[in-house]
Symmetry: none
Subunit: 220 residues, 4 copies
């Protein structure tokens, strides 16, 4: 990026990230913008952030390269917004599936995991993107993204913590385990070269089998 032009992507942290231009609040504007983000996400995942040019994104979206900047502030901001956009449904899983209304912590965890993998449809390629490319974001924005991720992690940890006194789970360090679970979700994408034999459902089964061994308490 041209150094002189570096403008940190807007970050309000709590709310979703503000519009990059004051004008664009219409539905059409938002639709176009979200289209840019989705198409760019695909490209970034496939080719890598640095290897994807604004012209590539222009071609993929059908929006002229100059006009792209009407919708977004910078290439960097697109990356930020990708993380932002994909974390939102993640954060909402807990509420949408009314997970805290589920009695059994085991069922809570299983639902959570299934949905976290399932939602993206791509075996969580976005988190792979996060691992891979997050370093291009300025610290401030990165923190903001990580905070949202941490929110999901703490929801997982919450489930674990609830299950321990109930004797359903047996876990020494719930924080470590929650982190590990979140990390394991991306195994498929991360090690795709060894994972392709497995179908999505097979992968979920194997993963659940793996995780349940770790968390479930068992009779001595």
């Amino acid at each position: 990026m041209t150094k002189k032009g570096r403008q940190a992507a807007a970050c309000k942290c709590k709310s979703s990230c503000g519009a990059s231009k004051n004008t664009g609040t219409s539905a059409v504007f938002q639709k176009r913008k979200s289209n840019i983000i989705k198409k760019a996400a695909k490209l970034f995942i496939k080719k890598g952030y640095a290897q994807t040019s604004m012209r590539d994104i222009a071609k993929a979206t059908g929006i002229d390269v100059g006009n792209l900047y009407y919708f977004i502030k910078s290439k960097e901001e697109i990356l930020y917004l990708i993380f932002d956009m994909f974390h939102k449904p993640e954060e909402e899983i807990f509420e949408r599936f009314e997970i805290n209304k589920i009695e059994d912590p085991v069922q809570q965890l299983k639902t959570m995991i299934t949905e976290l993998i399932g939602f993206g449809g791509n075996f969580r390629q976005e988190i792979l993107l996060l691992y891979r490319e997050s370093r291009v974001l300025p610290k401030e924005n990165l923190k903001c993204i990580m905070a949202r991720e941490s929110h999901v992690i703490s929801q997982i940890e919450g489930i674990l913590k609830e299950g321990v006194p109930k004797k359903v789970f047996k876990i020494e360090d719930t924080s470590f385990t929650a982190n590990m679970i979140m990390y394991e979700l991306a195994l498929y994408s991360m090690r795709h070269w060894n994972m392709t034999p497995y179908l999505k459902n097979e992968f979920i089964d194997l993963l659940w089998n793996h995780i349940s061994k770790v968390v479930l308490s068992r009779p001595d």
Copy 2:
């Protein structure tokens, strides 16, 4: 410059990768070259491959940017050589620690894991680099690197397979589990923003605890 086409980095697959110049066989040459690789590795890990310029590497090594090409063929080759260099000790762990002379498969696995994490000293940051940046390598070289990684994985799988009939391990899919273990080793680097509170030894303990729950068979 008119670059006529990419030249794939040399790849002998079995042996370590040959020197990039026929001349460079002197000790000084090798030392300088390996210095370049190490310094570049640090930069790639910190800033990313695409974000690290040859000038950065020149500055870090104190070797003039033109002269750099006396030691290496291309930026791409540096990346290849990083993977090459860091995979070699990994492949040797099995023999160096005479793991197949250890009786107990549990001890075998524990030694393997401890050494795999321990050797790099950096909590396996290089594998993070592999996950992140492998896409820039031409397929041929990538395969070559992956083959070496697979070799380590199959050593792990070998340990697991040995323990199953002995009833020390209880594992449904040894291949999946071996992959998962390999993947888990990089948790610390990959999720460093949440992992920094842990010291290296603490991390190894937590990890072992985690893994042993998955693999060990237990009384019903």
Copy 3:
């Protein structure tokens, strides 16, 4: 930049070479592009292809070095387009001057030669460029250019062949002679250091005198 490989300049062979960018169809675009080609031709002729940098071309055209690539794909393509551009009027001479409507083969040949020299205004410096620099073009494009040159040559040969049975010409090997004539047209540019005393018309006269001795049959 990692250049993944050379991209051959577009070559349709029959039609003139297609625009290098899909967008550039406006008159302004074409004008700028053809200006680049003409200015580059001058520089290539004067300094040589390899000795002319894109920055030189940028300076000569007043078009920013980066912007240059908005109009052309590569330096190589410029060379190709120079040949393409200068071959086109050549191929049209035959039709434009309705040479096959001329009765006398001698007049046909004289017209052809006069126009071939005359058109360029530069005593066929472009063909000198072709002789000198064609090696930098990829084979495919070179063939394409040569095919067009051969077309002109076969037109000359056609004229010669027609005159032989009519007893106006006496030629053993019409192909060789046609080639030689085409070659002789560039004498002025090729040996400019000895040719500068002659004016254009003087040169044409001398050349015609020379050629007519070779081709005309005469009374024994």
Copy 4:
């Protein structure tokens, strides 16, 4: 070439070009030097001057790239010396074959032409090189080279001039014709893509046939 380092190749014009270092007068030195020139000539002819690097020459000669500069002053000087070296035998043809002792001017001319083509063995590829690459030489050196070429031309012109009063030749402008003849000698190399069907002897025959039509006077 690095501008600061540009040093005009030595040029004494009359004598062959002086040794580039004061020391090198031994036979071994001269042998090595002439080897460099010959090997470089081959490379320049095949790949072009600009496309041939000093490293290429080093590889071809087996002389270390640094050591090369012990024998020659610069890449440019090599080119100069190539022209110098190949002009020398040319200039000597006249004397070696005692052409002025031949009675018949036609035989004089035929011998001269045959030897001029024959000597190089490569259908006068060196003159192609001269046409192609002479522009990289500084004017001073170029003049010097051209003067030597002119010497050969004036020998040809001398033959022509001698034949005119004897009524063997009928030529209006002997200078022009001599130039043309010299130029025609390079036809084979220059238009090799159309000339390859002809063998060397066929080519000489066709050429002589061509030239004799131009120069020979005939009965009216």
